[in-house]
């Protein structure tokens, strides 16, 4: 976070006091206070993006972060505590929208949406992009340490249904994703998890659990890099980040196909500064800005114009932009109702308790 790292102890104290005296931000031409509360994933922004936006528009951005979608949802559940832009994943765009927690986007104020790659213009979880604009997309796969693994572990079997790497496997703690991947491995669609399939997957996970070393909450890439585990279920961008420092690491999309996600920019209901929010979203969709962000976070960008500006190394990186038959079999997860959430929760509790 560029702003905060510059503060010294004394400066912070002064800033806190000033904040407490409800220092009023001047109002801009759009009648809104010249600031913005951005609720985002941790380190999911370019190094200078926020500062650059401030310089270009005069709007001060304050970024807070959440660790996962559930935290975001829980935070907004009882009412928007003042956030202007949030970054939920695709399934949560649906959840937030049906709960009336999102404001529709005004496309007239987001001309940069023309930069988007065609496959992101109209998506099943948000037809016509009424509620969201894509920020990144991501795919789950297996990150592994080449020297400790035989060949390329290109099937979910090696982490979900095999004892070959017993004691060296790390799985995602995210129950929903785990169940979906299990279903994919067994040959089903990620969105057709019937109770019977859920039971099958649960049993498989219970059997596999004794070979699993740990369940991580999105720090899987660090555990892989530190040698704590040799195979991990993680997102392609996260693994790409640690691969930059360690040649012995690699990533593969299992051949059965995988779950694709997309983190999207949305304006929650009750955002105090909707116009600034739109300006910010539009700014993030700019080609140069998008390229800056992609360079830092190493996740695939849905922004075709930004992609064109990226170096060859990024565009052809098989980890960041996986291609091949496995991807053809992959798809987005869809929200399947409260009953399904409860069933997943119970299944995961059973797996954890076994």
């Amino acid at each position: 976070m560029p702003d905060l790292s510059r503060r010294s102890f004394g400066g912070l104290a002064a800033a806190l006091v000033l904040d407490g005296c409800s220092r009023a931000f001047p109002k801009g031409a759009n009648g809104e206070e010249q600031r913005l509360n951005f609720y985002n994933w941790d380190t999911y922004i370019g190094e200078t993006t926020l500062g650059d936006f401030s310089k270009a528009t005069g709007v001060d951005v304050r970024m807070s972060h959440y660790a996962n979608n559930d935290e975001l949802f829980a935070r907004l559940r009882a009412g928007n505590p003042g956030f202007d832009v949030i970054v939920p994943s695709n399934e949560f765009v649906t959840r937030l929208q049906i709960s009336g927690m999102l404001s529709p986007l005004d496309h007239a104020r987001i001309p940069n949406r023309a930069n988007l790659a065609p496959e992101f213009v109209d998506v099943p979880y948000d037809p016509g992009r009424r509620w969201s604009m894509p920020y990144t997309w991501l795919a789950l796969g297996i990150g592994y340490r080449k020297s400790r693994v035989e060949g390329v572990p290109d099937s979910w079997k090696w982490v979900l249904d095999s004892d070959r790497y017993s004691g060296r496997i790390g799985l995602l703690a995210e129950g929903d994703d785990l169940i979906r991947l299990g279903a994919k491995y067994l040959g089903h669609s990620v969105n057709a998890v019937t109770p019977a399939i859920m039971e099958q997957v649960t049993q498989m996970l219970i059997r596999q659990k004794r070979h699993v070393k740990l369940f991580h909450h999105d720090e899987g890439q660090d555990l892989l890099a530190s040698g704590e585990i040799d195979l991990v279920v993680e997102y392609n961008g996260d693994i790409a980040q640690v691969m930059a420092d360690d040649d012995d690491l690699a990533f593969v999309i299992p051949r059965e196909g995988t779950l694709i996600n997309s983190d999207c920019l949305c304006v929650p209901t009750g955002a105090p500064r909707p116009d600034n929010a739109h300006r910010f979203i539009n700014y993030l969709l700019d080609a140069k800005v998008g390229a800056e962000i992609a360079k830092t976070i190493r996740f695939p960008t849905p922004n075709a114009a930004a992609l064109a500006l990226m170096p060859e190394e990024y565009r052809t990186n098989q980890v960041i932009f996986p291609t091949g038959p496995a991807m053809a079999k992959s798809g987005y997860g869809r929200f399947q109702g409260i009953g399904h959430i409860r069933a997943v929760e119970e299944a995961i509790t059973r797996v954890m308790a076994a």
């Binding site: 905060l4 503060r7 104290a13 407490g20 005296c21 660790a67 935070r75 009882a78 505590p81 003042g82």
Partner: protein
């Protein structure tokens, strides 16, 4: 002179004591030592360095979190001191219907599992009485302050009540006979006697608030992060000696306060014995 009960002088017990002591202190010692490690690793010593402490002071988020923790601790200490003292006075002076149930009720915050209190406050402050949003600092910490004060004022009441038990009511009676009003009696006679209990209670409440994790975990938000919460996310995601350094500082702070409390208690006990 070795008596039959002089257990400490016997080597089996002494050894046991030493082992337990090692068990309790070695991890903490290692923690402090490695906070000075000149390397990113927390288990391989490379050399002495203060860089992690410097990094702490540069980390605006951590400093802000620490500031939050201090403010919350101070505010909740004041509130629990007042409430706890009043409760202690009530139970010490009066006899009334429902006194026994009230005493039991007062003991509840101490025994209710922290997780239950945490979720209760979460629900209460989000769904029932939503704490207003976008409040300027430090008012936005209000929910956490209230939660902390609630679970610590029972402790304060306990400590102050223990202190009141040794108060000689005859002094107050004499003052009353001489025409002094209630407030004067309270201020000039009772409070001086209660001071050691008040100080102990205040230090107790302050430390409880500073250390709390679970209840704060549920009542805090992204803009009201406290020190233990921030350290938790550091432990989860980026384990470097910076965490050790932050921990060492917190240990020093609470150890210092504890030492102060015990010294005051000790001085008080000595004065009483004299």
């Amino acid at each position: 002179m070795k008596g039959p009960l002089d257990y400490l002088a016997r080597w089996p017990l002494w050894l046991w004591l030493a082992m337990v002591g090692a068990f309790l202190y070695l991890p903490l010692l290692a923690l402090v030592v490695f906070s000075f490690n000149d390397s990113r690793r927390i288990t391989v010593w490379r050399g002495f360095s203060l860089r992690w402490y410097a990094e702490l002071f540069d980390d605006g988020e951590l400093v802000a979190a620490f500031g939050n923790s201090l403010v919350i601790a101070a505010a909740s200490t004041i509130i629990s001191l007042i409430l706890g003292t009043l409760a202690a006075l009530l139970l010490w002076r009066f006899r009334f219907a429902g006194k026994a149930p009230l005493e039991a009720l007062l003991g509840l915050p101490i025994v209710v599992p922290e997780i239950c209190l945490g979720v209760a406050f979460l629900v209460f402050f989000t769904a029932i009485v939503p704490w207003p949003t976008e409040l300027p600092w430090p008012l936005n910490l209000g929910a956490i302050i209230i939660a902390h004060a609630t679970f610590s004022f029972s402790f304060v009441a306990l400590v102050v009540r223990a202190r009141l038990a040794s108060f000689d009511g005859a002094l107050a009676e004499a003052a009353r006979d001489l025409g002094a009003g209630e407030w004067l009696i309270f201020r000039d006679i009772m409070v001086p006697h209660m001071v050691p209990g008040l100080v102990a209670g205040a230090l107790l409440a302050f430390t409880l608030s500073l250390d709390d994790f679970v209840i704060t975990f549920f009542t805090s938000g992204p803009d009201t992060i406290t020190f233990p919460i921030k350290v938790y996310s550091m432990v989860r995601f980026s384990v470097t000696p910076a965490v050790n350094a932050a921990s060492t500082l917190l240990i020093l702070l609470t150890a210092g306060l504890t030492a102060l409390a015990l010294w005051l208690q000790g001085a008080d006990i000595a004065k009483q014995a004299a």
